[in-house]
């Protein structure tokens, strides 16, 4: 049984904004849609950029990847700001709980020696990799085309600096509450041989002018880095009595799974475009293939060093990840390029 509230009934004059009615028909729009679709200015820009007079302030020719309608892609997570920060607040809380637990049980200093070295020598320096990824994603946020894409890139940029901060926290915790490991990590990032391939990759990526290619190149490298550190090493840590490592890795793995949702969605939208789809699919295949060789050159020395430290079979795991990516590119190959299939990790 329900009670009845008397309310004043007022017929709305319209269900939502005109641009959404034109696109989706006369139905109420979600907050994601109202806050995202068509929000980037479309026409009648007043001035050309002083630093790039060849282009408009927003210009779809800034990437070879094109969507006839940039809003044919929507974020599968439907993140606008409020659900985004709410999701990240929960992730941050979980990470903080883990770090507090590790701290209270002194678990980081009890890591087996090789694992403690691995964290300080290879994992914590990745804060610089994450910081570089933030810069790349911020460039996509500015120069990408269409709010559905740039919004995802903006959140990714913020996530990456958050990841850098989480790695820094780990470094501070492992360093007994000091910044010593962070200082060392920077020297390692700049000088240690196993990390130079990755640093070189990030620096060269800063010069990539095509934001679509930049996203793909970063994503391919991320897939190798995250599979290595937060997939393969997570398993290996459990088997080697380095449970503390696994407790941390799970959070990065959770984040990366979330991150790949929108990228996969974007690749699908690129390939499914009725007029640019086959060109996009071919470009995605060639960019992924090139980027994969580049990424392997960057990450292989890291995996070799991992094997020196903990003998986990990292190189083999890395090659297996790469094979998976190659296989996915082949599966989406030229014959099926127009089909909405995309490589997955």
């Amino acid at each position: 049984m329900q009670y009845e509230l008397r309310t004043q009934v007022i017929e709305p004059q319209r269900k939502t904004f005109t641009h959404l009615v034109k696109r989706y028909g006369d139905r109420p729009a979600s907050r994601y849609e109202e806050g995202t679709i068509d929000v980037q200015a479309k026409e009648n820009f007043h001035y050309r950029p002083l630093w790039d007079p060849q282009h408009e302030l927003y210009d779809e020719t800034l990437s070879a990847f094109r969507l006839t309608d940039p809003y044919s892609f929507t974020d599968p997570r439907q993140y606008y700001y409020a659900p985004y920060v709410s999701s990240r607040a929960a992730m941050a809380e979980a990470m903080a709980a883990t770090l507090d637990y590790l701290d209270s049980r002194d678990l980081l200093s009890r890591l087996p020696e090789g694992w403690a070295t691995l964290v300080g020598e290879l994992l914590v320096p990745l804060r610089h990799y994450e910081s570089g990824a933030q810069m790349v994603c911020s460039d996509v946020t500015r120069f990408g085309f269409g709010t559905t894409i740039t919004q995802c890139a903006g959140y990714a940029a913020f996530d990456r600096i958050g990841n850098a901060q989480s790695l820094s926290r780990l470094g501070i915790a492992l360093g007994g509450g000091t910044a010593e490991l962070l200082t060392q990590a920077k020297t390692r990032w700049v000088e240690d041989a196993p990390l130079q391939g990755l640093r070189r990759f990030v620096e060269e990526l800063f010069l990539e002018k095509d934001w679509g290619r930049a996203l793909v190149r970063l994503d391919v490298t991320d897939r190798l880095v995250y599979a290595l550190f937060h997939g393969h090493l997570d398993d290996a840590a459990i088997e080697s009595g380095a449970g503390a490592y696994s407790l941390v890795a799970q959070h990065f793995a959770t984040w990366f799974k979330d991150q790949r949702k929108w990228l996969d969605g974007l690749y699908k939208a690129w390939a499914a475009d009725p007029s640019t789809g086959s060109a996009n699919a071919a470009l995605l295949a060639s960019t992924t293939t090139e980027a994969l060789e580049e990424a392997l050159r960057a990450v292989r020395p890291v995996a070799l060093r991992v094997d020196e430290l903990v003998a986990s079979g990292a190189v083999a795991a890395l090659e297996a990840t790469a094979d998976g990516i190659r296989e996915a590119v082949r599966a989406a190959g030229p014959d099926t390029a127009a089909a909405p299939a995309a490589p997955t990790a």
């Binding site: 007022i10 904004f17 903006g154």
Partner: protein, 511 residues
């Protein structure tokens, strides 16, 4: 060999924050640093030590997410409650929403543009400190874009004028004023953008540009917008601090930066001030329940706080008050009246409605503008009241000439002479260009190659790029529908408002 002191030297809060946010950069060696940061030299600004940037706020990503998520939860709860309870019926009057229509059409898209360009700074500034500050502001501006849309979305369901705000921001004549302002900043280099938006817009003029809408909301029963305003306050205070830190940082880095920054302050003060013309008329004419007059607002928030406070501090660096500030001061008793009188006559081509101020409103205008309203503007309204009695509400059927820089119709008068229209001419590349003021003329002549590019809505109409040659063609291209425009009295909004406030309005049940 020396032995390092034993035991961990635990980080202080400040050191911890810096360890987390500051030391993330490194000197690239595989590529040329100038190729990594290609935009930070051409403006002539010299930065010797990016590490000298003082973080304007100490916020880490996890703290940010937690704090912002809580704020949004509270804000959206208010929006949902207001929508469910038909809260719009408790506004002072439906005509109040004209202020919010101008806000959604004119300001919200600027928040979005700010989001995109602070991301540009988060990539293209050389120092990790300012990059992180810019990144936070970038995502904040996206928050403001979306929370404003969501706040006003409910009004769009019941009232005209809101529904096509995005397309209108790109197309409609009065909205090219804020759009060209922000496009101007967006097309500039990173340092000019910091001074234009970070400093001038977010700090120098924010109490004149942004805050009046929020105050207007709280005085007129607009709970959602007021709640949004409060919810944005802590973000805005971070942005103001960033703007102030940016200017101090740039000035302290090199003496040669001072004249460059001074010229940007001169430009962006006037550019932003011209955008406030739309706010001035809103405060004095669109709010059924007044907050304060434009004149009072200008005196308090600009003359007292900025000229008296901020610029006294900036004098230390050799910065002087903006050029043409005296022209702005001289206009404070005429600005809002001139602008509203123009909008009144052109509101058939706008996405808001206007009306003759009633007797009580005119009394308020006399009280607040004792030296100008009765002498100069009351007679215009008296004449218009006669027109209306005779059945002839006045709409201007031609098109106004626009200023080449600020794009406001050429309606402003000579400084100190409120009856002579001010018109300045400059010749560039053999062509003559009109500007509305000394300030706009100076801006034009400083960068004529930029301002000749302007997409001037009236020129474009004459060139046939706006839907067709006739006024109805243009209005259709603007996406205006019945009830969006023209006179408020007798409008769809007013009729609905009266029906909904009729005691015999239909009621229903909700289980």
């Amino acid at each position: 060999m020396t032995i390092a002191p034993k035991g961990p030297r635990k980080l202080t809060m400040k050191q911890r924050y810096e360890a987390l946010t500051r030391d993330l950069d490194w000197e690239p060696s595989y590529v040329d640093k100038r190729d990594v940061f290609p935009h930070t030299e051409f403006e002539g600004i010299k930065i010797h030590d990016w590490g000298k940037w003082e973080d304007p706020f100490r916020l880490t990503v996890d703290a940010y997410a937690k704090y912002q998520a809580e704020k949004d939860k509270r804000l959206y709860a208010v929006l949902d409650g207001f929508a469910q309870s038909q809260g719009h019926l408790s506004l002072t009057d439906a005509s109040y929403l004209n202020a919010m229509k101008v806000f959604l059409q004119g300001v919200t898209p600027l928040e979005y543009t700010a989001h995109r360009n602070f991301a540009y700074l988060a990539r293209h500034l050389n120092g990790p400190g300012p990059r992180f500050a810019a990144l936070c502001q970038s995502i904040d501006e996206l928050r403001h874009t979306q929370t404003e849309i969501h706040t006003l979305s409910n009004y769009n369901k019941y009232y005209g004028g809101f529904h096509n705000y995005l397309e209108q921001h790109d197309r409609v004549w009065y909205l090219s004023v804020p759009k060209s302002f922000f496009d101007d900043a967006l097309s500039a280099g990173p340092f000019e953008f910091l001074i234009a938006i970070g400093f001038s817009f977010e700090y120098l003029l924010t109490n004149l540009l942004f805050v009046p809408f929020m105050s207007g909301a709280s005085f007129n029963g607009d709970l959602p917008t007021m709640t949004f305003g409060f919810s944005a306050q802590s973000d805005e205070s971070r942005h103001m601090t960033l703007g102030l830190e940016a200017i101090k940082f740039i000035l302290e880095q090199d003496e040669g930066n001072v004249p460059i920054v001074q010229a940007w302050i001169d430009k962006w003060f006037w550019r932003g001030y011209r955008v406030t013309a739309l706010v001035a008329q809103m405060l004095d004419y669109m709010l059924p329940r007044k907050v304060m007059s434009w004149k009072e607002s200008f005196e308090l928030y600009f003359e007292e706080q900025m000229l008296g406070g901020l610029f006294a501090d900036l004098a230390f660096y050799g910065i002087t008050p903006p050029k043409h500030v005296d022209d702005a001061i001289a206009e404070k008793e005429t600005l809002s009246h001139q602008v509203y009188w123009t909008l009144y006559q052109f509101s058939h081509a706008a996405a808001f409605t206007t009306s003759v101020p009633d007797a009580e409103h005119q009394q308020w205008l006399r009280d607040n503008y004792p030296d100008t309203f009765e002498q100069l503007y009351q007679p215009l309204w008296a004449k218009e009241e006669k027109n209306i009695e005779a059945g002839g509400r006045h709409f201007w059927r031609g098109l106004p000439q626009l200023c080449q820089v600020c794009q406001v119709p050429m309606l402003f008068t000579e400084p100190g002479d409120p009856t002579t229209i001010c018109q300045r001419e400059s010749v560039y590349d053999g062509e003559t260009f009109q500007t509305c003021s000394n300030g706009c003329q100076w801006i034009f002549e400083r960068e004529p190659e930029k301002y000749v590019q302007a997409w001037l809505p009236v020129h474009q109409i004459y060139q046939g790029s706006c839907g067709g040659p006739t006024l109805p063609d243009v209005l259709q291209w603007y996406g205006l529908e019945e009830g969006d425009s023209g006179e408020y009295k007798g409008s769809v909004d007013e009729k609905n408002w009266n029906t909904w406030h009729d005691d015999h309005a239909p009621t229903g049940t909700e289980g």
